[in-house]
């Protein structure tokens, strides 16, 4: 997004500095909660119990993080991290695979009922899992999928956003490619593997970033269907670390867990920024 700069509307001198100062203030305000969480994850419970909390990190980083990772409160945070990773990757990969295939069928074939399927899939765009939680829970329970990875993953891939994205993309692929493949006598699946899939690489990657974060950050669904602590995901597990009574929560460990829960999605977003922005714009429009 390079843009030409003209003297006319350019900011110079104090105006420019003021803009920078305002931006830095904005960034600091936005960052403050994260910084505070980090500080809290490096001090002792006693430091936190006597407010105000200092604004510079303390010396208990290793102690708090290893306590969180290897013992946690109900279950080691390491276990919850693994669960979250499996869930997030499962949702991202699952949704991408079924969508690549069904979009291929919808765009490149004329088969009976094609339009009905198209609209049925289209309908699923409309209803977030939050709205149908009780009956979906019953379905998952009746399959005996409570406290299982398939129970965590499958209900969340039942939505058509990715299918639409790939459909839009396939429609922009030049017809000549399919024509050539057909003339060469290539089977449809060969065309899919050798031509369509390699061409979709960027879209797949962009979508993966978005879906990974979507899956990682799920809260309500894992809260309902994981009753065993060993199956908790990290994002929903944090709430379970608060004591139910009036006791003071183990804030250093909780904050260390919060930081651990943020690292993977932040890493994905920042390191794949270009893909992420592309995926965001694509999947919303």
């Amino acid at each position: 997004m390079a843009r030409e700069q003209t003297g006319m509307v350019e900011r110079r001198g104090t105006g420019l500095w003021l803009t920078h100062v305002l931006m830095i203030c904005g960034v600091l305000v936005v960052f403050f909660p994260i910084w505070l969480a980090f500080v809290a994850s490096t001090v002792t419970q006693a430091d936190i119990a006597s407010p105000p909390l200092p604004l510079i990190p303390g010396g208990h980083f290793v102690e708090n993080y290893s306590r969180a990772l290897f013992s946690g409160v109900n279950v080691p945070v390491g276990t919850m991290l693994v669960n979250s990773l499996i869930m997030a990757i499962g949702i991202a990969v699952g949704k991408i695979v079924i969508s690549l295939l069904s979009a291929f069928a919808i765009v490149y074939f004329r088969f009976p009922g094609r339009n009905i399927f198209f609209w049925l899939i289209f309908l699923t765009l409309m209803l977030p899992v939050e709205v149908r939680i009780v009956p979906t829970y019953e379905v998952v329970a009746s399959f005996g999928m409570l406290n299982s990875y398939s129970g965590l993953i499958l209900p969340l891939i039942a939505s058509a956003t990715a299918t639409f994205l790939f459909r839009q993309f396939y429609l922009t692929v030049p017809d000549e490619l399919a024509e050539a493949a057909r003339v060469d006598g290539a089977r449809p699946m060969r065309f899919f593997w050798d031509i369509l899939l390699p061409m979709s690489r960027t879209n797949i990657a962009a979508l993966f970033v978005i879906l990974f974060i979507y899956g990682w950050n799920q809260y309500l669904w894992p809260l309902l269907i994981t009753t065993k602590p060993e199956m908790n995901t990290i994002v929903m597990g944090i709430k379970q670390m608060f004591p139910s009574g009036d006791d003071l929560a183990d804030w250093p460990v909780i904050m260390a867990t919060s930081i651990l829960a943020m690292i993977p999605p932040i890493f994905v977003v920042v390191s794949m920024q270009k893909l992420f922005i592309r995926g965001l714009v694509d999947s919303e429009k």
């Binding site: 509307v9 936005v30 909660p33 919808i106 009780v134 057909r182 950050n217 804030w251």
Partner: protein
Amino acid sequence: MEKRVTFKGWKLPFLLILPQVIVSAVFFFYPAGQAIYQSLFIPDPFGLSSRFVGLGNFEYLFSNRYYLASFTTTAVFSVLVTLCSMIPALFLAVMADRLVKGAGTYRTLLIWPYAIAPAIAGVLWLFMFNTRIGIVSWYLGKLGYDWNHVLNGAEAMGLVVVASSWGRISYNFLFFFAALQAVPKSVIEAAAIDGARFWRRFFTIVLPLISATLFFLLVVNVVYAFFETFGVIHTITSGGPQQSTTILVYKVFSDGFVGQDLGSSAAQSVVLLVVVGLLTVAQFKFIEKRVHY
């Protein structure tokens, strides 16, 4: 739009579409159908049988003081979240757009909170405003203000609004920034030559030009406030005090799972379904408009 070149056969496409159809049928259509079906019945207290009540559950809902209050709460909450996440984002985007150097760095830094789950955002803000140990509530106390979101409904609402808006600022910033960068510079220069000052140019020229993005974000943020903020509310207030932060989605959860009132919960799901439908229509209307634009 249709492809002119297609492949022959119907078995293969059936096979290809099958996984998505099965997943959608089992985890989407069946549960959604169940929600509609259950909304017409009242199960007996032992869950053995249920009695058909027609629209009784809905009549009950809309005469229920708590449910109507939850509607108001949701409306207040979504309006506040939308404003609190869009205005700072627009301001930051306008600032970043004025910069030639450094805008990319600011963008990278401002993206961070988007990646943070609403539930984690809830924990972070709860920590800052904790009545016993929170740093912000402590300083407020020093200033003579006694912060207590556990007892004060307005403060609880304020806290869940701020915590929900925080991560959304990143999201809105990205869209605003992209829209601002796409505004033709020649138009702005022309106005500058005519002597229009920065904020005047902004309100009379730039804002109308990014109105499509503005409207899009409005709808998307309302949808977010409605459906994706459950984690924030559950971690900070659990809907309290006195249901002052119980938004509709939270009520479906608390009536269905905590209260075990399945008929009512199903009826609430159906009401939400209608709300989603309306919001989706608004969104598509907008997309259509953009296409013809």
